[in-house]
Amino acid sequence: MTKGKVIRKTVAESLPPQLAGLLEELPYLKKLRLNMDLKGCIKILELGVSSPVSARKAREEGRKIIYAAMTVGGEIPIALSSPAFYVLYLEWQANLYWGVLKGERDFYSQSERYGVAREMCAWTKANMGSVINALWGRPDLLVAGCGSSCDDASKVFEILEWMGHKTYYAEVPYRRNPLFNEVNIGQDSAKLVLYTPEILEFQVQEYGRFKALLEEESGIKITDDMLRQTIRYYNRARKAISEIIEMRKARPTPLGAVETFLIQGCCNYLMGDPAGFCEAVETMRDEVAEIVERREGVIDEDAVRITFCGNPYLDFQIFNQIEDAGATILGWEGGPVLLTPIDEEKDPLLALAENFLGDYPPFGDTEGMIRHIISKSKEFDCEGAIWNVQLGCSHSPVEGSIIQKEVEKALGIPVLLTFTDLPGDHPSGQVTTRIEAFVEMVKNRRMS
């Protein structure tokens, strides 16, 4: 059987001439290998680029602006269900637009004026910088995940609240089942008791508290029908993305890692435009199916299969570096992203709580992450895993060292820890050296 055709396109090579302005708007894009032949990809980037205009328009229409951060559960779907709010997920929108793609650095350092350490995680600093600079207009409400999130980020929101920003703290339990180890000894992964009834009840109450706040702020009731409509959008997007991830099992890998990562991260808040985002990822799914049909791809068929994990990632060049070294990322953890479907029939708040608690915890106890990484590595037959640490994120190297040992022990595959900084003009040589050595080592293991 002949090998599939490998086509690797940079943004500059594939961007349609009529969209050349996109590169002026987002100069960092030029540094990435990202296939802009895909209409779905262009739509995603256009949604990102147009977000300041969309936010301004929403304001003119009388809608309120919500900046959410550190939350991957039900809060954003609930907010998106109300016509009274325009919702942005700061970690993604701020970093993707201003940091990663536009290459702006100033808003990272804004927070230093308020006592936030220079060494702190750039994502957290970006959250603060976005609010201080009102990049999408002064927010009417900040929604900050706390508890099972990041303590540094929570503190930053406390500072912002002290500065006069109305802030809602979304309480997320660190351990969803306090007796996890005791009750799950010897259980199959499918039968694990991931959360207790008390925690579920607490989560539903929390979502109810948030919904009530939004209704009070806007004077508009958020009905079950409104919530179900949003849930359907989430399910549409998650289904399309899951299908894309499934299709990436094809050889050669039909879609690059940058594109795959983008859609997963943006799925958490549907880019503030549920219908537009669903249309974009469904278009991309159809295009990927055609690529698979043509047996084309972005990397050689014998590429080393990698699970990519860690939190968070600012330098998207690392995905290109991994592919350049001869590996393809198939399993994913972090981002953060949940892709399991939400029940459309149940009480919506209960369905959102069950969906969140039943999936793996992108924040929180390491055991859940380990289980997720092992599961994804098995599903995609991965030969190694890479855990990335963003400079300044204090907890991820600690998590990484635990995960490295546990995943190596459970699967017998090596786990590499990489450390990335803010994106520069060129990919980091230190990171390249590590990835190349890792891929070479995994290839050598094939011969064992």
Partner: protein
């Protein structure tokens, strides 16, 4: 007769080794990296083939390595420094399990299996202490040649402790010791111990298993070698001409590749 070459475009110097099919060195060169990587590789190759008495077309396979490996467009392929230094270590010492490669700006540690394949590796983060570049700076501060500081340091009479693990801060500590009129040999031995501590922390990440081989330019420094032996409590062996280990290993891999392709 097959001929293979390895090209190591390092941060400080570019090295080329040409081997015949008996794994004998028939030509080699080492020039300081003062220009673009591709220019230096070209010059080093010309010098090596001149010494070998062959023309470029007689070389069957070329592998490049080092930080500038991608600049060598005429190489058949490239390989990481880890693989090349490990190939050299395994060639000279088939019982090698740990390879410590200390170059101008990098400290790379590999753990090998019984067949010489890399099982695990570690390298320095954004930190220069424990590398040749740091030792060059120290030599300048002592107004000595870098090739002399190792043997001179072995004349130490007292073990001083340099607390700073950062190369920049270590420099200020060294200045303080100079002002205190601490003997040069004692200061240099203190530097050796600081480097050895740093390197042993990388070794401990992947596990210390004998036999331990040291390669790279810093392996020519007897002071560093002795301090590492002391800190790791283990004997360390050094292959001939350790500075050429990257290029020699690349040539070995090229020869192997050539053999596989036939």
């Amino acid at each position: 007769m097959a001929i293979a070459a390895g090209v190591d475009v390092g941060n400080r110097s570019t090295k080329v080794v040409v081997l015949n099919d008996k794994k004998e060195i028939i030509g080699s060169s080492l020039i300081m990296s003062l220009d673009e990587g591709k220019v230096m590789a070209e010059k080093a190759m010309e010098e090596a083939i001149k010494k070998a008495g062959i023309i470029r077309e007689e070389i069957d396979y070329i592998i490049s390595t080092g930080d500038g490996k991608n600049e060598v467009s005429w190489a058949n392929e490239n390989a990481t420094d880890f693989s090349c230094h490990s190939a050299t270590a395994y060639h000279y010492f088939p019982t090698a399990r740990n390879v410590i490669d200390l170059g101008a700006e990098n400290c790379r540690i590999s753990r090998l299996d019984a067949k010489g394949r890399i099982e695990k590796f570690a390298l320095n983060d954004k930190c220069a202490s424990g590398t040749g570049g740091f030792l060059e700076t120290v030599a300048d501060m002592m107004e000595m040649g870098v090739s002399n500081i190792g043997s001179f340091s072995l004349q130490f009479t007292r073990e001083i402790t340099l607390n700073a693990m950062c190369a920049v801060f270590a420099e200020s500590e060294i200045v303080t010791e100079i002002h205190r009129a601490t003997p040069k040999a004692d200061i240099l031995w203190g530097v050796n111990i600081a480097v050895a501590l740093k390197v042993s922390s990388y070794v401990n990440r992947i596990g210390l298993i004998p036999d331990v081989v040291m390669t790279g330019g810093v392996a020519q420094n007897p002071g560093i070698l002795e301090s590492l032996k002391k800190k790791l409590s283990i004997d360390i062996v050094v292959p001939p001409d350790p500075q050429m280990a990257g290029a020699f290993g690349a040539a070995l891999l090229a020869l192997q590749k050539r053999g596989n392709e036939k």
